[in-house]
Structure formats: C-alpha cells, structure tokens
Symmetry: C2
C-alpha cells in the first residue's frame, strides 16, 4: 500500500476492505490525527488547537454541517475514510469502530491535526536514526507537567513523544523537525526528562519503551496524543478521535507542508 494513491487508499478503507494501521501507507503523503467534536464544543476545540499549535497543529477543519468533507483530501468523508475510530462518551472510551456514519445525525465538526510521521520521514532522509522505527515499536510517549493554554472545557498538560538522538546529531534533528511546524515542529524539551515531570524514561505512559544508548540525548516533541488525553479529561458528552496508529491519509505531500505554518485560509 506504500505506492497507493491517497484517494485509492481512502476508497478501499471506505468500502471496509482495510481496517489496519497506516504507518508506511501512501509513502510521502501527510497523515493526520482526527478530532470529531459536537457543534456546541467545536469553537472551543478549534480555539484550543489554535492556542496549542505544537501538540495540535491544524491541517484542516471541517465545521459542523460540512458532512466531514475537507479541502486537503478530494472526495473524502471523515465519517468513513479512516481505518479506525475511537468514540468517547463523557470522556470515557466507549467503543472502537471502523465507520462513524451512525453519528452523522450528531452533525459533528472535525479537526485534522498534523502528526509526526512527516518529520520522522524527514529525519530518516537526513540520515538521523529513529530508534522506535528501527525496532518496529510504537514511539514512547509521556505525560508531562507542561501546561496547555485552556479553552472552554479543554485543558490539561502536554503529552510528548521521545526519540533518542546521538549528541552530534541533536542540532540537525532540531533543524530538520523545525521545518515541519504542522507536524509538531522542533522539540519542546531536550535532554532533561525530570524538568518536565518524567521520572523514568523506561516506563512511558503510552507506546513502547526504547533504549537510550551511550552518547544519545533524549529529545521530546509535542505529541498528537495530547488532544486525546484532553478530551478524556474534558468529559464532554461525545467526541471522536482516530484509533491510534490508524490515521487519515490526506492528498498533501510531506514536501507541501515543509516551512508552512498554516494551511487555513484565514491563517
């Protein structure tokens, strides 16, 4: 599926022919995290993402009433074109499904958020090793003490992902990832886990642990799991996210979002 076009892939998913994870799918195209929010809370959710662009970089918005259509994916419907969805009721994970057409009557608005796949691809292109990819593991993620800017019911602390980088490549890793602000951008913290409330790197709160080798520095990037945790803590009546690792594949190429701070019409 690496060579498949995003449109072909989305149609396959819509038909129910694929419900698996998306890393490696449609190589070179931007994948996005999904947030589905009822109309009542949509303005706050959008404001929250705008105020916390590092963990929640907005790729596109499909306001309530737009039927889950977005500009960044021709002919797509966000109710059907992701291989997995998680539905939350009052902040609690209610069920995992492969289609949320049953929620159409709820008139959800959607926000697509950039994810780190784009910058990981860029790191590898620049010869910077990415440990969890080498080990075929999920990236280790940690709850931190870094406060988010609140909006309405949405508040909490940032979740970060960690990638160990050799000391001689840290500056390069910062520079490469800084060019992808819509994929979380540069690290938010470098080398001192205790400073953001992480007491044990070998016990991530999400994902899998990866070893930190001699001469490597732990780099911490804002992570797309942040809004999921914020939704849980908000206890709003209904919300939807993509199933972790089962992202929405857009028509945007990774190059198209390099050095781009916003894709939204009004900025």
């Amino acid at each position: 599926m690496r060579e498949m076009s995003p449109k072909e892939f989305r149609l396959m998913v819509r038909k129910g022919e694929y419900a698996g994870p998306t890393p490696g799918v449609c190589g070179g195209f931007v994948q996005a995290n999904l947030l589905g929010i009822p109309e009542e809370f949509f303005p706050d959710a959008l404001d929250f993402c705008r105020k916390n662009p590092a963990p929640c970089p907005i790729i596109d918005v499909s306001p309530p009433g737009r039927g889950g259509r977005v500009r960044v994916a021709e002919g797509a419907d966000l109710h059907t074109d992701l291989p997995g969805y998680d539905v939350f009721v009052e902040g609690k994970h209610e069920k995992r499904v492969t289609d949320i057409s049953f929620l159409r009557e709820k008139n959800l608005g959607f926000i697509l958020l950039g994810c780190s796949f784009s910058f990981e691809w860029a790191l590898l292109e620049e010869g910077i090793p990415v440990r969890h990819i080498e080990l075929s593991r999920n990236v280790p993620m940690y709850r931190t003490t870094i406060p988010l800017v609140p909006s309405g019911p949405f508040r909490g602390n940032m979740v970060v992902s960690m990638r160990p980088i050799p000391a001689s490549l840290v500056a390069k890793a910062v520079l490469v990832t800084s060019r992808y602000p819509l994929a979380h951008g540069a690290p938010v913290h470098v080398g001192y886990p205790e400073g953001i409330g992480i007491s044990d790197l070998s016990s991530p709160d999400f994902g899998d642990p990866v070893p930190l080798l001699e001469g490597e520095i732990p780099l911490f990037w804002a992570c797309g799991v942040t809004p999921r945790v914020v939704i849980e803590e908000s206890r709003i009546p209904l919300a939807v996210t993509h199933r972790p690792g089962h992202m929405f594949v857009t028509d945007l190429s990774d190059e198209e979002i390099r050095d781009v701070n916003s894709l939204l019409p009004e900025g």
Copy 2:
C-alpha cells in the same frame, strides 16, 4: 564606545588611542577574528577555512598585495585597525603588539573569520540566557577529538565553546544560532561532552569555567580559537592573529549576516 560607528572606532584604534578588548564595542556590528598568513601558505590557509566553515567561517579575504584592505570595512587597514595582535613564529607565540605595520614588507594575506558575538547577541534578544556574559567571564573553550579537514600544513582538531542552556530552550538556541552560519552557526554537539573528548567541563582548555545548573544542557559550538591552535601546530614561519577578545570591527550589521552562508563574491 557602544554607540560609536565602526569607522570611528577603527580610526581611534589606528591612532593608538584604544588598545582594549572589543566585546560591547560598536553594538550591533559584526566583529571578526583575524588570520594573517604569508603568501606562500595563504592558499592553503584559505582552503583550510573553506573546508572547515563551522570553526572558520570566512567573512572577508584580503589577499597578499592588497595592503590589508577589505570590502567589509571602508578605509580600514588590517595592519593598524585592531586593538591587539599576536605574532607567531614557527608556531610559537612571539609577541603581542597593537600594530603590525612592521610586517608590511612581509606582504601578508589576511582572512577575517566570523565570531560568536553575533549569535550571542541574537540569543540574548530571544530571551536565552548566556551564562558567561551574566558572570562577566570569558566563554569556556575546550579542545575536542572532532577532526578538522586538513589542508597543507593546517590540520588538527576542533576547539569548541560551551554555553549551558535550559532544557526547554535548547531547540530555540539551536534555531537562533543556526541562522548565523558566519558566526559558527548551530551547535556541533549537544549534551554529551565525553563524546567529543571533554572529560571535565569545569576545566576548560581556554577561557573561564562557568557552572552548569540543574536542568541545563551543555551546548557546544565550533570556536574561533580553532585556527589559532591550528597555526601553533602548523609551525609555519610567521603568522598573525588578533589578540583574543580584541577583534576587528566591521561595517556589517549583525542583521546583515543573518541567514547568509557566504559573503565572498565567488561563494
């Protein structure tokens, strides 16, 4: 002297009215390290700097026969316009003077190299603390095991300067300094002194030690002391450098060298 124009300052120096250090002089203007090399070794010296742009970023060149005139400083003469010079004979420091007019007959060529003052100013502007400036000390510098690309008699290992940066500001410090490639650019190493042969941060090879506080990461930048050490080790018959801390003040503003990789006509 902070408000003085570079031209006024150079004339004052030329007349012998000032022979002190230059940090803080002519605020906002680029200061440069000096290398004076006999004609025989000048092509190798220039080639060496070109091949090692991190420690030796070329701001301007005054080839033998040009009488120490440069494009980046109107009316300047490099024989007279620096407040201090060190003269080396066969790699040994021979004398410290305030004028090298007595060497005019040697027909030296000169290379002006960018120095870290420009990026330190940018760090402070961005709210990133610079410890040795806070403490009114010289920056700590260390010999490393990072090999330089050799050219003719010029070879050796890189010297680096160290600045402790809070973990939350490391990425920003990398990004800010990367915009000044002619002032050494981004750090060459972050967070792991042992990896470049530094066993004890509290015992720098040059400059003064500064404390590394809890939550701070040591960042290492290529340092302008590198060519001085290379000249010592080259043992060429004659060479001149600026006296440390007594730099040449150019007409270039710090902004003019931001995002600029080369000022030389042929690049």
